[in-house]
Protein backbone atom coordinates (compact mmCIF):
# COMPACT_ATOMS: atom_id res chain seq x y z
CA UNK A 1 0.00 0.00 0.00
CA UNK A 2 2.72 2.43 1.06
CA UNK A 3 4.89 1.30 -1.85
CA UNK A 4 2.16 1.93 -4.41
CA UNK A 5 1.55 5.32 -2.90
CA UNK A 6 5.18 6.36 -3.04
CA UNK A 7 5.15 5.75 -6.78
CA UNK A 8 2.61 8.48 -7.30
CA UNK A 9 4.16 11.75 -8.45
CA UNK A 10 4.43 14.32 -5.66
CA UNK A 11 2.76 17.72 -5.79
CA UNK A 12 3.09 20.49 -3.19
CA UNK A 13 -0.24 22.23 -2.67
CA UNK A 14 -0.19 25.94 -1.75
CA UNK A 15 -3.36 27.78 -0.73
CA UNK A 16 -6.52 25.71 -0.49
CA UNK A 17 -7.97 24.79 -3.92
CA UNK A 18 -11.71 24.13 -3.96
CA UNK A 19 -11.24 20.98 -6.04
CA UNK A 20 -10.10 19.14 -2.92
CA UNK A 21 -13.52 19.64 -1.43
CA UNK A 22 -15.14 17.69 -4.27
CA UNK A 23 -12.44 15.56 -5.90
CA UNK A 24 -10.09 14.70 -3.04
CA UNK A 25 -10.29 10.93 -3.52
CA UNK A 26 -9.84 11.09 -7.28
CA UNK A 27 -6.85 13.41 -6.90
CA UNK A 28 -5.14 11.21 -4.32
CA UNK A 29 -5.40 8.22 -6.64
CA UNK A 30 -3.35 10.05 -9.28
CA UNK A 31 -0.95 12.18 -7.23
CA UNK A 32 0.65 12.29 -3.82
CA UNK A 33 -0.77 15.62 -2.73
CA UNK A 34 1.27 17.36 -0.05
CA UNK A 35 -1.41 19.55 1.49
CA UNK A 36 0.40 22.39 3.23
CA UNK A 37 -2.86 23.80 4.58
CA UNK A 38 -3.36 20.73 6.78
CA UNK A 39 -0.18 21.47 8.69
CA UNK A 40 0.34 24.02 11.43
CA UNK A 41 3.85 24.65 10.10
CA UNK A 42 4.53 27.73 8.03
CA UNK A 43 4.65 27.06 4.30
CA UNK A 44 8.45 27.36 4.23
CA UNK A 45 8.89 24.96 7.15
CA UNK A 46 6.41 22.53 5.65
CA UNK A 47 8.33 22.51 2.37
CA UNK A 48 11.63 21.91 4.14
CA UNK A 49 10.16 19.00 6.05
CA UNK A 50 8.06 17.30 3.36
CA UNK A 51 8.42 18.71 -0.11
CA UNK A 52 11.96 19.67 -0.98
CA UNK A 53 12.27 17.48 -4.07
CA UNK A 54 8.92 18.17 -5.74
CA UNK A 55 8.79 19.08 -9.39
CA UNK A 56 5.22 20.37 -9.39
CA UNK A 57 3.14 22.82 -7.37
CA UNK A 58 -0.63 23.11 -7.36
CA UNK A 59 -1.89 26.42 -6.06
CA UNK A 60 -5.00 28.48 -5.59
CA UNK A 61 -5.22 32.16 -4.67
CA UNK A 62 -7.65 31.04 -1.98
CA UNK A 63 -6.28 31.24 1.60
CA UNK A 64 -2.84 31.88 0.25
CA UNK A 65 -1.41 34.51 2.61
CA UNK A 66 1.22 36.10 0.43
CA UNK A 67 2.44 36.00 -3.15
CA UNK A 68 4.35 32.86 -4.14
CA UNK A 69 7.87 34.11 -4.75
CA UNK A 70 11.60 33.61 -4.03
CA UNK A 71 11.16 32.70 -0.37
CA UNK A 72 9.31 29.60 -1.54
CA UNK A 73 11.15 28.96 -4.83
CA UNK A 74 14.58 28.82 -3.22
CA UNK A 75 13.36 25.88 -1.12
CA UNK A 76 12.15 24.01 -4.21
CA UNK A 77 15.21 23.54 -6.44
CA UNK A 78 13.49 20.89 -8.56
CA UNK A 79 10.31 22.87 -9.18
CA UNK A 80 9.48 22.96 -12.89
CA UNK A 81 5.75 23.67 -13.01
CA UNK A 82 3.12 25.63 -11.13
CA UNK A 83 -0.48 24.69 -11.91
CA UNK A 84 -2.92 27.27 -10.61
CA UNK A 85 -6.66 26.63 -10.38
CA UNK A 86 -7.36 30.27 -11.23
CA UNK A 87 -7.30 32.48 -14.28
CA UNK A 88 -5.83 35.31 -12.23
CA UNK A 89 -2.06 35.22 -11.70
CA UNK A 90 -1.49 38.05 -9.23
CA UNK A 91 -0.74 35.54 -6.45
CA UNK A 92 2.36 34.29 -8.32
CA UNK A 93 5.59 36.22 -8.87
CA UNK A 94 5.72 35.81 -12.64
CA UNK A 95 9.07 37.58 -13.02
CA UNK A 96 10.73 35.15 -10.60
CA UNK A 97 9.16 32.19 -12.42
CA UNK A 98 10.48 33.40 -15.74
CA UNK A 99 13.91 33.95 -14.22
CA UNK A 100 14.03 30.44 -12.81
CA UNK A 101 12.49 28.72 -15.84
CA UNK A 102 9.41 27.58 -13.94
CA UNK A 103 6.44 26.96 -16.25
CA UNK A 104 2.94 28.02 -15.30
CA UNK A 105 -0.35 26.44 -16.32
CA UNK A 106 -3.52 28.32 -15.46
CA UNK A 107 -7.28 27.89 -15.84
CA UNK A 108 -6.97 30.09 -18.91
CA UNK A 109 -10.42 30.73 -20.42
CA UNK A 110 -12.08 27.75 -18.71
CA UNK A 111 -14.30 29.89 -16.46
CA UNK A 112 -15.09 32.66 -18.94
CA UNK A 113 -18.71 31.68 -19.59
CA UNK A 114 -19.61 31.21 -15.94
CA UNK A 115 -17.92 34.45 -14.92
CA UNK A 116 -19.50 36.42 -17.76
CA UNK A 117 -22.91 34.97 -16.87
CA UNK A 118 -22.38 36.03 -13.27
CA UNK A 119 -21.36 39.56 -14.24
CA UNK A 120 -24.56 39.92 -16.28
CA UNK A 121 -26.58 38.45 -13.41
CA UNK A 122 -25.09 40.99 -11.00
CA UNK A 123 -25.79 43.88 -13.38
CA UNK A 124 -29.44 42.92 -13.92
CA UNK A 125 -29.79 42.43 -10.15
CA UNK A 126 -28.42 45.90 -9.32
CA UNK A 127 -30.33 47.75 -12.04
CA UNK A 128 -33.64 45.90 -11.52
CA UNK A 129 -33.18 45.50 -7.74
CA UNK A 130 -33.73 41.74 -7.80
CA UNK A 131 -32.03 40.80 -4.51
CA UNK A 132 -33.61 43.79 -2.74
CA UNK A 133 -37.06 42.79 -4.05
CA UNK A 134 -36.52 39.16 -3.04
CA UNK A 135 -35.70 40.42 0.49
CA UNK A 136 -38.79 42.63 0.41
CA UNK A 137 -41.07 39.71 -0.36
CA UNK A 138 -39.39 37.18 1.93
CA UNK A 139 -39.52 39.63 4.84
CA UNK A 140 -43.29 39.76 4.36
CA UNK A 141 -43.30 43.44 3.33
CA UNK A 142 -45.34 43.27 0.10
CA UNK A 143 -48.80 43.18 1.73
CA UNK A 144 -47.70 45.87 4.22
CA UNK A 145 -45.83 48.33 2.03
CA UNK A 146 -47.36 47.72 -1.39
CA UNK A 147 -45.25 49.45 -3.99
CA UNK A 148 -41.62 48.44 -4.41
CA UNK A 149 -39.25 51.14 -5.76
CA UNK A 150 -38.79 51.19 -9.53
CA UNK A 151 -35.53 50.08 -11.11
CA UNK A 152 -34.03 51.20 -14.39
CA UNK A 153 -34.00 49.68 -17.86
CA UNK A 154 -31.07 47.36 -18.65
CA UNK A 155 -30.98 48.14 -22.39
CA UNK A 156 -30.69 51.90 -21.86
CA UNK A 157 -27.30 51.43 -20.25
CA UNK A 158 -24.04 52.50 -21.85
CA UNK A 159 -21.72 49.76 -20.65
CA UNK A 160 -17.95 50.17 -20.46
CA UNK A 161 -16.01 46.91 -20.27
CA UNK A 162 -12.69 47.34 -18.49
CA UNK A 163 -10.44 44.71 -20.06
CA UNK A 164 -11.75 43.04 -23.20
CA UNK A 165 -10.23 39.59 -22.74
CA UNK A 166 -12.12 36.32 -22.91
CA UNK A 167 -14.46 37.25 -20.05
CA UNK A 168 -14.96 40.87 -21.14
CA UNK A 169 -15.85 39.87 -24.67
CA UNK A 170 -18.44 37.35 -23.47
CA UNK A 171 -19.98 39.98 -21.17
CA UNK A 172 -20.20 42.36 -24.12
CA UNK A 173 -21.84 39.78 -26.40
CA UNK A 174 -24.43 38.92 -23.76
CA UNK A 175 -25.32 42.52 -22.92
CA UNK A 176 -25.72 43.41 -26.58
CA UNK A 177 -28.73 41.08 -26.70
CA UNK A 178 -30.37 43.27 -24.02
CA UNK A 179 -29.89 46.37 -26.16
CA UNK A 180 -26.97 47.81 -24.18
CA UNK A 181 -24.43 50.03 -25.92
CA UNK A 182 -20.92 48.62 -25.46
CA UNK A 183 -17.53 50.30 -25.38
CA UNK A 184 -14.28 49.20 -23.75
CA UNK A 185 -10.88 50.04 -22.37
CA UNK A 186 -8.01 47.60 -22.72
CA UNK A 187 -4.20 47.63 -22.94
CA UNK A 188 -4.50 47.07 -26.68
CA UNK A 189 -7.20 47.78 -29.24
CA UNK A 190 -9.03 44.61 -30.28
CA UNK A 191 -10.56 43.46 -33.56
CA UNK A 192 -14.11 44.28 -32.50
CA UNK A 193 -16.66 46.85 -33.57
CA UNK A 194 -17.09 48.33 -30.08
CA UNK A 195 -15.61 51.83 -29.56
CA UNK A 196 -12.18 51.66 -27.90
CA UNK A 197 -10.95 54.09 -25.24
CA UNK A 198 -7.31 53.80 -24.22
CA UNK A 199 -8.02 56.00 -21.22
CA UNK A 200 -10.25 54.71 -18.42
CA UNK A 201 -11.33 58.20 -17.38
CA UNK A 202 -12.66 58.90 -20.85
CA UNK A 203 -14.47 55.55 -20.86
CA UNK A 204 -16.10 56.44 -17.56
CA UNK A 205 -17.35 59.79 -18.87
CA UNK A 206 -19.00 58.06 -21.84
CA UNK A 207 -20.69 55.24 -19.85
CA UNK A 208 -23.00 54.69 -16.92
CA UNK A 209 -21.92 51.13 -16.20
CA UNK A 210 -18.41 49.78 -15.74
CA UNK A 211 -17.82 46.02 -15.72
CA UNK A 212 -14.35 45.18 -14.40
CA UNK A 213 -12.93 42.20 -16.34
CA UNK A 214 -9.19 42.86 -16.34
CA UNK A 215 -6.28 41.19 -14.55
CA UNK A 216 -4.85 42.64 -11.35
CA UNK A 217 -1.36 44.00 -12.04
CA UNK A 218 0.72 46.89 -10.72
CA UNK A 219 -0.87 49.06 -13.42
CA UNK A 220 -4.47 48.13 -12.59
CA UNK A 221 -4.18 48.31 -8.80
CA UNK A 222 -6.77 50.90 -7.62
CA UNK A 223 -7.49 51.72 -11.25
CA UNK A 224 -11.09 52.51 -10.29
CA UNK A 225 -10.89 55.38 -7.83
CA UNK A 226 -12.95 58.39 -6.79
CA UNK A 227 -12.05 60.33 -9.94
CA UNK A 228 -13.30 57.53 -12.20
CA UNK A 229 -16.45 57.01 -10.12
CA UNK A 230 -17.34 60.70 -10.23
CA UNK A 231 -16.82 60.63 -14.00
CA UNK A 232 -19.19 57.66 -14.22
CA UNK A 233 -21.84 59.79 -12.57
CA UNK A 234 -24.81 59.57 -10.25
CA UNK A 235 -26.57 56.90 -12.31
CA UNK A 236 -23.34 54.91 -12.43
CA UNK A 237 -23.15 51.20 -11.64
CA UNK A 238 -19.93 49.23 -11.15
CA UNK A 239 -19.75 45.44 -11.44
CA UNK A 240 -16.56 43.70 -10.29
CA UNK A 241 -15.91 40.02 -10.99
CA UNK A 242 -12.13 40.41 -11.37
CA UNK A 243 -10.06 41.27 -8.31
CA UNK A 244 -11.04 43.47 -5.36
CA UNK A 245 -7.86 45.54 -5.44
CA UNK A 246 -8.63 46.92 -8.91
CA UNK A 247 -11.09 49.20 -7.11
CA UNK A 248 -10.12 51.61 -4.32
CA UNK A 249 -12.65 50.10 -1.96
CA UNK A 250 -12.59 52.92 0.58
CA UNK A 251 -13.31 55.51 -2.10
CA UNK A 252 -16.02 53.29 -3.57
CA UNK A 253 -17.76 53.10 -0.19
CA UNK A 254 -17.54 56.90 0.19
CA UNK A 255 -19.01 57.48 -3.26
CA UNK A 256 -21.89 55.12 -2.50
CA UNK A 257 -22.59 56.74 0.85
CA UNK A 258 -22.58 60.18 -0.75
CA UNK A 259 -24.82 59.15 -3.64
CA UNK A 260 -22.11 59.84 -6.24
CA UNK A 261 -22.88 56.53 -7.95
CA UNK A 262 -26.13 54.57 -8.03
CA UNK A 263 -25.09 51.04 -7.10
CA UNK A 264 -22.56 48.22 -7.29
CA UNK A 265 -22.43 44.46 -7.72
CA UNK A 266 -19.28 42.97 -6.19
CA UNK A 267 -18.10 39.37 -6.21
CA UNK A 268 -14.59 40.33 -5.04
CA UNK A 269 -13.14 42.55 -2.31
CA UNK A 270 -9.76 43.99 -1.38
CA UNK A 271 -9.42 41.93 1.78
CA UNK A 272 -11.54 38.79 1.45
CA UNK A 273 -13.36 37.46 3.38
CA UNK A 274 -13.84 40.92 4.90
CA UNK A 275 -16.57 43.10 3.42
CA UNK A 276 -16.82 46.80 4.43
CA UNK A 277 -19.63 46.99 6.99
CA UNK A 278 -20.97 50.17 5.33
CA UNK A 279 -21.98 48.08 2.32
CA UNK A 280 -23.96 45.59 4.38
CA UNK A 281 -26.61 48.17 5.22
CA UNK A 282 -27.06 49.48 1.67
CA UNK A 283 -30.02 48.42 -0.46
CA UNK A 284 -28.47 49.40 -3.80
CA UNK A 285 -25.58 46.92 -3.65
CA UNK A 286 -25.34 43.21 -4.36
CA UNK A 287 -22.57 41.36 -2.53
CA UNK A 288 -21.43 37.83 -3.29
CA UNK A 289 -18.50 35.89 -1.90
CA UNK A 290 -16.21 35.22 -4.84
CA UNK A 291 -18.42 32.56 -6.39
CA UNK A 292 -18.43 33.56 -10.05
CA UNK A 293 -16.56 30.37 -11.00
CA UNK A 294 -18.40 28.21 -8.48
CA UNK A 295 -20.58 25.97 -10.63
CA UNK A 296 -20.60 22.19 -10.80
CA UNK A 297 -19.53 22.40 -14.43
CA UNK A 298 -16.58 24.70 -13.75
CA UNK A 299 -15.28 22.84 -10.73
CA UNK A 300 -15.40 19.56 -12.66
CA UNK A 301 -13.68 21.21 -15.61
CA UNK A 302 -10.86 22.70 -13.50
CA UNK A 303 -10.32 19.37 -11.76
CA UNK A 304 -9.88 17.71 -15.17
CA UNK A 305 -7.63 20.52 -16.42
CA UNK A 306 -5.43 20.38 -13.31
CA UNK A 307 -4.99 16.62 -13.73
CA UNK A 308 -4.27 17.08 -17.42
CA UNK A 309 -1.58 19.70 -16.83
CA UNK A 310 0.08 17.78 -13.99
CA UNK A 311 0.04 14.54 -15.99
CA UNK A 312 1.56 16.41 -18.95
CA UNK A 313 4.56 17.26 -16.79
CA UNK A 314 4.97 13.81 -15.30
CA UNK A 315 4.52 12.01 -18.63
CA UNK A 316 6.61 14.48 -20.63
CA UNK A 317 3.76 15.79 -22.76
CA UNK A 318 2.98 19.41 -23.71
CA UNK A 319 1.03 21.38 -21.11
CA UNK A 320 -2.64 21.93 -21.96
CA UNK A 321 -2.87 25.57 -20.84
CA UNK A 322 0.67 26.89 -20.50
CA UNK A 323 1.16 30.57 -19.81
CA UNK A 324 3.00 31.90 -22.84
CA UNK A 325 5.15 35.03 -22.66
Amino acid sequence: MTEAKSELPEVIVVGRPTIFKFYDEELSKKFRMLKSWESSLSLENYICKHAQSVKAMLCSPKYIGSQISSSVFRLLPSLRLIVTTSTGLDHIDLVECRRRGISIASASTLFSEDVADFAVGLLIDVVRRISAADRFVKNGLWPLQGQFPLGSKVGSRKVGIVGLGSIGLKVAQRLEAFGCTISYQSRNKKLVSYPFYPDIYELATKCDVLVICCALTDQTHHLINKEILLALGKRGVVINIARGAIINEMELVQCLEQGEIAGVGLDVFENEPNVPKELISLDNVVLTRHIATFTEDSIRAIYELVCGNLEALFFNKPLITPLLD
Binding site: E113, F118, D125, R128, G146, K153, R289
Partner: protein
Protein backbone atom coordinates in the same frame (compact mmCIF):
# COMPACT_ATOMS: atom_id res chain seq x y z
CA UNK B 1 -61.78 67.42 -21.12
CA UNK B 2 -61.85 68.37 -17.42
CA UNK B 3 -65.46 67.29 -17.11
CA UNK B 4 -64.87 63.80 -18.37
CA UNK B 5 -64.93 61.39 -15.44
CA UNK B 6 -62.11 58.85 -15.33
CA UNK B 7 -62.15 56.09 -12.72
CA UNK B 8 -58.70 54.81 -11.70
CA UNK B 9 -59.07 51.28 -10.32
CA UNK B 10 -56.07 51.23 -7.95
CA UNK B 11 -52.75 53.02 -7.33
CA UNK B 12 -50.35 52.26 -10.15
CA UNK B 13 -48.26 55.32 -11.03
CA UNK B 14 -48.13 58.70 -9.36
CA UNK B 15 -47.11 60.28 -12.65
CA UNK B 16 -50.18 58.82 -14.38
CA UNK B 17 -52.38 59.86 -11.49
CA UNK B 18 -51.11 63.44 -11.64
CA UNK B 19 -51.60 63.69 -15.39
CA UNK B 20 -55.08 62.20 -15.26
CA UNK B 21 -55.92 64.67 -12.48
CA UNK B 22 -54.75 67.57 -14.66
CA UNK B 23 -56.64 66.57 -17.77
CA UNK B 24 -59.80 64.87 -16.52
CA UNK B 25 -62.08 64.59 -13.52
CA UNK B 26 -60.26 61.82 -11.74
CA UNK B 27 -61.94 59.40 -9.32
CA UNK B 28 -59.61 57.24 -7.22
CA UNK B 29 -61.59 54.05 -6.65
CA UNK B 30 -59.34 52.83 -3.83
CA UNK B 31 -60.08 55.95 -1.73
CA UNK B 32 -63.81 55.51 -1.95
CA UNK B 33 -65.21 54.41 1.43
CA UNK B 34 -68.44 52.94 0.12
CA UNK B 35 -68.25 51.75 -3.45
CA UNK B 36 -71.97 51.28 -4.09
CA UNK B 37 -72.87 54.74 -2.88
CA UNK B 38 -70.05 56.24 -4.89
CA UNK B 39 -71.16 54.53 -8.08
CA UNK B 40 -74.75 55.64 -7.65
CA UNK B 41 -73.60 59.21 -7.19
CA UNK B 42 -70.95 59.45 -9.89
CA UNK B 43 -71.62 56.68 -12.43
CA UNK B 44 -73.17 59.04 -14.95
CA UNK B 45 -70.04 61.15 -15.27
CA UNK B 46 -67.59 58.28 -15.62
CA UNK B 47 -66.72 57.66 -19.26
CA UNK B 48 -63.35 55.92 -18.82
CA UNK B 49 -61.73 53.35 -16.53
CA UNK B 50 -57.98 53.03 -16.08
CA UNK B 51 -56.98 49.60 -14.74
CA UNK B 52 -53.86 47.43 -14.49
CA UNK B 53 -52.76 43.86 -13.68
CA UNK B 54 -54.38 43.97 -10.23
CA UNK B 55 -57.72 45.60 -10.90
CA UNK B 56 -59.51 46.33 -14.16
CA UNK B 57 -63.11 46.27 -15.28
CA UNK B 58 -65.13 43.17 -14.59
CA UNK B 59 -68.76 42.66 -15.68
CA UNK B 60 -70.11 44.06 -12.42
CA UNK B 61 -68.19 47.32 -12.73
CA UNK B 62 -68.98 47.68 -16.44
CA UNK B 63 -72.70 47.19 -15.72
CA UNK B 64 -72.62 49.89 -13.06
CA UNK B 65 -71.09 52.48 -15.41
CA UNK B 66 -73.72 53.18 -18.08
CA UNK B 67 -71.67 55.99 -19.69
CA UNK B 68 -68.47 53.94 -19.92
CA UNK B 69 -66.83 54.33 -23.36
CA UNK B 70 -63.26 53.15 -22.89
CA UNK B 71 -61.14 50.98 -20.62
CA UNK B 72 -57.45 51.85 -20.84
CA UNK B 73 -55.22 49.29 -19.12
CA UNK B 74 -51.84 50.14 -17.60
CA UNK B 75 -50.61 46.66 -18.56
CA UNK B 76 -50.33 44.43 -21.59
CA UNK B 77 -52.29 41.63 -19.89
CA UNK B 78 -56.06 41.86 -20.24
CA UNK B 79 -57.18 39.16 -17.83
CA UNK B 80 -58.76 41.68 -15.42
CA UNK B 81 -61.06 43.06 -18.12
CA UNK B 82 -64.26 41.39 -19.26
CA UNK B 83 -63.48 41.70 -22.96
CA UNK B 84 -66.69 40.02 -24.09
CA UNK B 85 -68.78 42.46 -22.09
CA UNK B 86 -66.84 45.37 -23.59
CA UNK B 87 -67.36 44.05 -27.14
CA UNK B 88 -71.04 43.55 -26.42
CA UNK B 89 -71.47 47.14 -25.23
CA UNK B 90 -69.19 48.76 -27.79
CA UNK B 91 -66.70 49.82 -25.11
CA UNK B 92 -63.15 50.36 -26.45
CA UNK B 93 -60.22 48.68 -24.71
CA UNK B 94 -56.53 49.61 -24.93
CA UNK B 95 -53.40 48.17 -23.31
CA UNK B 96 -49.64 48.90 -23.23
CA UNK B 97 -47.88 46.41 -25.54
CA UNK B 98 -44.29 46.77 -26.82
CA UNK B 99 -43.11 49.40 -24.34
CA UNK B 100 -42.73 46.83 -21.57
CA UNK B 101 -41.54 43.86 -23.65
CA UNK B 102 -37.83 44.37 -22.98
CA UNK B 103 -38.17 44.98 -19.25
CA UNK B 104 -40.17 41.80 -18.76
CA UNK B 105 -37.73 39.76 -20.86
CA UNK B 106 -34.77 41.26 -18.96
CA UNK B 107 -36.37 40.25 -15.69
CA UNK B 108 -36.97 36.69 -16.91
CA UNK B 109 -33.25 36.28 -17.64
CA UNK B 110 -32.36 38.06 -14.39
CA UNK B 111 -34.51 35.52 -12.52
CA UNK B 112 -32.88 32.58 -14.32
CA UNK B 113 -29.42 33.81 -13.30
CA UNK B 114 -30.52 34.68 -9.78
CA UNK B 115 -31.96 31.19 -9.23
CA UNK B 116 -29.32 29.08 -10.96
CA UNK B 117 -26.34 31.04 -9.66
CA UNK B 118 -27.88 31.66 -6.22
CA UNK B 119 -27.13 35.40 -6.39
CA UNK B 120 -29.82 36.54 -3.93
CA UNK B 121 -29.01 33.70 -1.56
CA UNK B 122 -25.31 34.53 -1.61
CA UNK B 123 -26.01 38.22 -1.02
CA UNK B 124 -28.09 37.18 2.00
CA UNK B 125 -25.19 34.99 3.18
CA UNK B 126 -22.67 37.84 2.96
CA UNK B 127 -24.99 40.28 4.73
CA UNK B 128 -25.41 37.81 7.59
CA UNK B 129 -21.62 37.75 7.99
CA UNK B 130 -21.34 34.06 7.10
CA UNK B 131 -18.46 34.32 4.63
CA UNK B 132 -15.84 33.39 7.20
CA UNK B 133 -17.81 30.36 8.36
CA UNK B 134 -17.04 28.16 5.39
CA UNK B 135 -17.78 27.43 1.79
CA UNK B 136 -20.85 28.22 -0.24
CA UNK B 137 -22.49 25.41 -2.18
CA UNK B 138 -21.78 24.79 -5.85
CA UNK B 139 -24.31 26.40 -8.15
CA UNK B 140 -25.59 25.62 -11.66
CA UNK B 141 -24.23 26.97 -14.91
CA UNK B 142 -26.66 29.04 -16.98
CA UNK B 143 -24.95 29.28 -20.39
CA UNK B 144 -26.00 26.46 -22.67
CA UNK B 145 -29.01 25.33 -20.62
CA UNK B 146 -32.08 24.54 -22.73
CA UNK B 147 -34.86 27.10 -22.36
CA UNK B 148 -38.49 26.22 -23.07
CA UNK B 149 -40.91 29.13 -23.58
CA UNK B 150 -44.68 28.88 -23.17
CA UNK B 151 -46.02 31.51 -25.57
CA UNK B 152 -43.90 32.96 -28.34
CA UNK B 153 -45.35 36.45 -28.57
CA UNK B 154 -43.38 39.68 -28.21
CA UNK B 155 -42.16 38.85 -24.72
CA UNK B 156 -41.42 35.18 -25.52
CA UNK B 157 -39.34 36.20 -28.55
CA UNK B 158 -37.44 38.81 -26.54
CA UNK B 159 -36.60 36.19 -23.91
CA UNK B 160 -35.43 33.80 -26.66
CA UNK B 161 -33.18 36.48 -28.18
CA UNK B 162 -31.50 37.13 -24.84
CA UNK B 163 -31.13 33.45 -23.90
CA UNK B 164 -29.56 32.73 -27.29
CA UNK B 165 -26.73 35.14 -26.43
CA UNK B 166 -25.86 32.69 -23.63
CA UNK B 167 -25.82 29.75 -26.04
CA UNK B 168 -29.13 28.39 -24.74
CA UNK B 169 -31.05 26.17 -27.20
CA UNK B 170 -34.64 27.46 -27.45
CA UNK B 171 -37.85 25.48 -27.69
CA UNK B 172 -41.46 26.59 -27.27
CA UNK B 173 -45.11 25.71 -26.98
CA UNK B 174 -47.94 27.68 -28.54
CA UNK B 175 -51.44 26.62 -29.61
CA UNK B 176 -50.17 26.24 -33.17
CA UNK B 177 -46.64 26.15 -34.53
CA UNK B 178 -45.22 29.53 -35.58
CA UNK B 179 -44.08 29.63 -39.23
CA UNK B 180 -41.14 32.03 -39.17
CA UNK B 181 -38.92 30.66 -36.46
CA UNK B 182 -36.02 28.22 -36.14
CA UNK B 183 -36.87 27.31 -32.57
CA UNK B 184 -38.02 23.77 -31.78
CA UNK B 185 -41.77 23.43 -31.39
CA UNK B 186 -43.52 21.06 -28.98
CA UNK B 187 -47.27 20.54 -29.34
CA UNK B 188 -47.88 20.10 -25.61
CA UNK B 189 -46.57 21.83 -22.50
CA UNK B 190 -45.65 18.48 -20.91
CA UNK B 191 -43.46 17.58 -23.89
CA UNK B 192 -41.86 21.03 -23.74
CA UNK B 193 -41.18 20.61 -20.00
CA UNK B 194 -39.72 17.14 -20.54
CA UNK B 195 -37.25 18.54 -23.04
CA UNK B 196 -35.96 21.68 -21.39
CA UNK B 197 -34.09 22.61 -18.24
CA UNK B 198 -35.62 26.05 -17.74
CA UNK B 199 -39.35 26.57 -18.42
CA UNK B 200 -40.66 30.14 -18.79
CA UNK B 201 -44.31 31.20 -18.80
CA UNK B 202 -44.74 34.04 -21.30
CA UNK B 203 -48.27 33.67 -22.66
CA UNK B 204 -51.50 35.60 -22.02
CA UNK B 205 -53.80 34.52 -19.21
CA UNK B 206 -57.10 33.25 -20.57
CA UNK B 207 -59.54 30.63 -19.28
CA UNK B 208 -57.63 28.09 -21.45
CA UNK B 209 -54.21 28.89 -19.99
CA UNK B 210 -55.20 28.91 -16.32
CA UNK B 211 -52.99 26.38 -14.49
CA UNK B 212 -51.20 25.61 -17.75
CA UNK B 213 -48.27 24.68 -15.50
CA UNK B 214 -49.78 21.92 -13.39
CA UNK B 215 -48.37 19.01 -11.42
CA UNK B 216 -47.77 16.91 -14.51
CA UNK B 217 -45.77 19.70 -16.16
CA UNK B 218 -43.73 20.31 -13.01
CA UNK B 219 -42.87 16.63 -12.74
CA UNK B 220 -41.85 16.59 -16.40
CA UNK B 221 -39.58 19.56 -15.68
CA UNK B 222 -38.17 17.65 -12.76
CA UNK B 223 -35.85 17.95 -9.79
CA UNK B 224 -33.15 19.67 -11.87
CA UNK B 225 -35.57 21.89 -13.72
CA UNK B 226 -36.31 25.55 -13.05
CA UNK B 227 -39.66 27.30 -13.51
CA UNK B 228 -39.76 31.03 -14.30
CA UNK B 229 -43.11 32.85 -14.20
CA UNK B 230 -43.29 36.41 -15.55
CA UNK B 231 -46.84 35.94 -16.88
CA UNK B 232 -49.70 35.80 -14.41
CA UNK B 233 -49.97 33.94 -11.11
CA UNK B 234 -52.91 31.78 -12.21
CA UNK B 235 -50.80 30.31 -15.02
CA UNK B 236 -49.28 28.06 -12.36
CA UNK B 237 -51.06 25.75 -9.90
CA UNK B 238 -49.52 27.47 -6.90
CA UNK B 239 -50.47 24.85 -4.33
CA UNK B 240 -48.84 22.14 -6.44
CA UNK B 241 -45.82 24.36 -7.01
CA UNK B 242 -45.27 24.82 -3.28
CA UNK B 243 -45.35 21.08 -2.59
CA UNK B 244 -43.16 20.29 -5.60
CA UNK B 245 -40.54 22.75 -4.32
CA UNK B 246 -40.77 21.65 -0.69
CA UNK B 247 -40.46 18.01 -1.70
CA UNK B 248 -37.61 18.60 -4.15
CA UNK B 249 -39.59 17.36 -7.14
CA UNK B 250 -38.86 20.71 -8.84
CA UNK B 251 -35.32 22.11 -8.91
CA UNK B 252 -36.12 25.77 -8.36
CA UNK B 253 -38.33 28.72 -9.28
CA UNK B 254 -38.13 32.41 -10.10
CA UNK B 255 -41.55 34.02 -9.66
CA UNK B 256 -42.66 37.58 -10.34
CA UNK B 257 -46.38 36.82 -10.13
CA UNK B 258 -48.71 34.92 -7.79
CA UNK B 259 -52.28 33.69 -7.75
CA UNK B 260 -53.42 36.13 -5.07
CA UNK B 261 -51.06 39.10 -5.00
CA UNK B 262 -49.73 40.53 -2.75
CA UNK B 263 -50.03 37.25 -0.84
CA UNK B 264 -47.12 34.87 -1.41
CA UNK B 265 -47.00 31.35 0.09
CA UNK B 266 -44.82 31.72 3.18
CA UNK B 267 -43.48 28.18 2.83
CA UNK B 268 -41.39 29.49 -0.07
CA UNK B 269 -39.66 32.20 1.98
CA UNK B 270 -36.92 29.98 3.39
CA UNK B 271 -36.05 28.17 0.15
CA UNK B 272 -32.64 29.08 -1.29
CA UNK B 273 -33.58 27.80 -4.75
CA UNK B 274 -36.51 30.20 -5.06
CA UNK B 275 -36.47 33.92 -5.92
CA UNK B 276 -39.67 35.89 -5.28
CA UNK B 277 -40.42 39.33 -6.72
CA UNK B 278 -43.39 41.66 -6.09
CA UNK B 279 -44.68 41.85 -9.71
CA UNK B 280 -42.00 44.19 -11.01
CA UNK B 281 -41.81 42.90 -14.60
CA UNK B 282 -42.34 46.34 -16.08
CA UNK B 283 -41.00 48.12 -13.02
CA UNK B 284 -38.54 50.67 -14.39
CA UNK B 285 -38.85 54.45 -14.43
CA UNK B 286 -38.48 54.53 -18.20
CA UNK B 287 -41.09 51.88 -18.93
CA UNK B 288 -43.72 52.98 -16.42
CA UNK B 289 -43.56 56.47 -17.88
CA UNK B 290 -43.92 55.07 -21.41
CA UNK B 291 -46.88 52.96 -20.26
CA UNK B 292 -48.52 55.96 -18.59
CA UNK B 293 -48.02 58.06 -21.74
CA UNK B 294 -49.69 55.33 -23.78
CA UNK B 295 -52.69 55.29 -21.42
CA UNK B 296 -52.96 59.08 -21.63
CA UNK B 297 -52.44 59.05 -25.40
CA UNK B 298 -55.17 56.45 -25.88
CA UNK B 299 -57.65 58.36 -23.71
CA UNK B 300 -56.95 61.63 -25.48
CA UNK B 301 -57.24 60.00 -28.89
CA UNK B 302 -60.59 58.52 -27.94
CA UNK B 303 -62.08 61.73 -26.59
CA UNK B 304 -60.78 63.72 -29.55
CA UNK B 305 -62.29 61.18 -31.97
CA UNK B 306 -58.92 60.15 -33.31
CA UNK B 307 -57.69 56.57 -33.95
CA UNK B 308 -56.67 54.76 -30.76
CA UNK B 309 -52.94 54.15 -30.35
CA UNK B 310 -53.02 50.55 -29.05
CA UNK B 311 -56.57 49.22 -29.27
CA UNK B 312 -57.45 45.67 -28.32
CA UNK B 313 -61.24 45.99 -28.73
Amino acid sequence: MENIGVLMACPMSSYLEQELDKRFKLFRFWNVPQKNGFLIQHADSIRAVVGNAFAGADAELINSLPKLEIVSSFSVGLDKIDLNKCKEKGIRVTNTPDVLTEDVADLAIGLMLAVLRRICECDRYVRKGLWKSGDFKLTSKFSGKSVGIIGLGRIGLAIAKRAEAFGCPISYYTRSEKPNTNYKYYPTVVELASNCQILVVACALTPETRHIVNREVMEALGSNGILINIGRGPHVDEKELVSALLEGRLGGAGLDVFENEPEVPEQLFGLENVVLLPHVGSGTEETRKAMADLVLGNLEAHFLNKPLLTPVV
